[in-house]
């Protein structure tokens, strides 16, 4: 009895999950085109709620932009053309994945530059450490020599 209840609850959750993701917009008739539109929506920032994609946002502007994306895809735009349509109006900021260009160079290669610098630092320190023992220790003073022979005598 319990198993049936849990199973049906799970089935219900699975059944309504997609509804959370896409709200109630009418999807495109062509399933492949709809899937493409959905993918694009996931990469577009909702400008009202900033850190959500327009796919996940219920802001009215996000809804309007979902309509625009479906419209562009429905009109035969490639993914790139549809994205460009939105970027031309809202700028690169609307992309959740920032494009690789001069202004974003630091963003993309900064971590690798830091990693390289840290690696170089490690190599330099290791080299210096390895070189140091090579320098011959200074000769023992008379007192030290006497003490050493004492110690050796003791252990014998």
């Amino acid at each position: 009895m319990k198993v049936v209840a849990v199973a049906s609850l799970l089935a219900l959750m699975v059944a309504i999950a997609p509804a959370w993701a896409v709200f109630t917009d009418p999807p495109l008739a062509d399933a492949a085109a709809e899937a493409r539109a959905q993918r694009l929506m996931q990469d577009l920032r909702c400008l009202v709620c900033q850190n959500q994609s327009i796919r996940d946002s219920n802001a009215s502007l996000a809804r309007d932009l979902r309509v625009v994306v479906r419209e562009r895809i429905g009109a035969g735009d490639s993914d790139g053309q549809a994205m460009a349509y939105i970027v031309n109006r809202y700028g690169d900021w609307v992309l959740l994945d920032p494009p690789f260009k001069l202004a974003t160079l630091g963003l993309w290669i900064g971590p690798f530059v830091l990693l390289l610098l840290a690696g170089l630092g490690v190599v330099v320190i290791m080299r210096r450490r390895r070189r140091q023992p090579a320098a011959a220790p200074p000769p023992l003073s008379a007192r030290e020599r006497a003490r050493l022979s004492d110690l050796l005598d003791e252990t014998e």
Binding site: L47, S60, L61, V68, R89, Y90, G91, P137
Partner: protein, 195 residues
């Protein structure tokens, strides 16, 4: 080799070694200060203030009908020939009420063609709102479904676009205009564009 022997051996090179070791010790402090400067700057940045993609671009082509019994409407062609402001407003927008008195003042000054873009509003509500608070606009385009707003890259109301004589978007003000923006930014820019 014991530690004390080691220290004795390095003693002659102490002067150079010590400053080098000191600079290594200061490295975390320097790094923390650099990161701190960036974070401190971040405090004063407004994440809502997104630069418009349309600056220095011609106004998008559009034609909007007037509000009922409140001609004329607004088209892209109306924005050529003189310096113009396009103020995106709606009766449901609270911040629009805050800037409204300044728009009325701008109309009184008569220094610029001030047009309205009534964004995603019910025409009746818009007319009632204008009746109650005053109508500062020369032309008003009714953008009921917000499509022209999207062409302008509108994401928050109110927004105000400043357009030069050639119909090029020069600047966009996001959020309500206040006294400071009007006097220090808007009026000087209009005067400059009018020359």
């Amino acid at each position: 080799m014991t530690d004390s022997d080691n220290a004795e051996a390095e003693a002659p090179a102490a002067a150079g070694g010590r400053t080098r070791r000191l600079s290594f010790a200061l490295l975390p402090l320097v790094a923390a200060i650099v990161v701190g400067i960036f974070l401190f700057r971040g405090l004063s940045l407004d994440p809502r203030n997104i630069p418009s993609a349309l600056i220095d671009k011609p106004v998008p082509d559009f034609q909007l009908a007037a509000l009922p019994d409140r001609p004329p409407g607004l088209t892209a062609g109306d924005l050529k020939g003189n310096v113009a402001l396009v103020n995106v407003f709606a009766s449901w927008c609270v911040a629009c009420r805050a800037e409204h008195p300044l728009l009325m003042e701008l109309k009184r000054r008569g220094v610029v063609a001030l047009h309205g873009l009534n964004y995603k509003d019910r025409p009746g509500d818009a007319l009632e709102w204008l009746g109650r608070y005053g109508d500062p606009y020369e032309r008003i385009g009714a953008d009921r479904d917000g499509r022209v707003g999207i062409d302008f890259g509108v994401y928050g109301v109110p927004e105000t676009f400043i357009i030069d004589k050639n119909g090029t978007i020069v600047e966009k003000i996001i959020g309500p205009i206040n006294e400071t923006i009007l006097k220090e930014k808007l009026l000087p820019l209009i005067a400059e564009l009018d020359r």
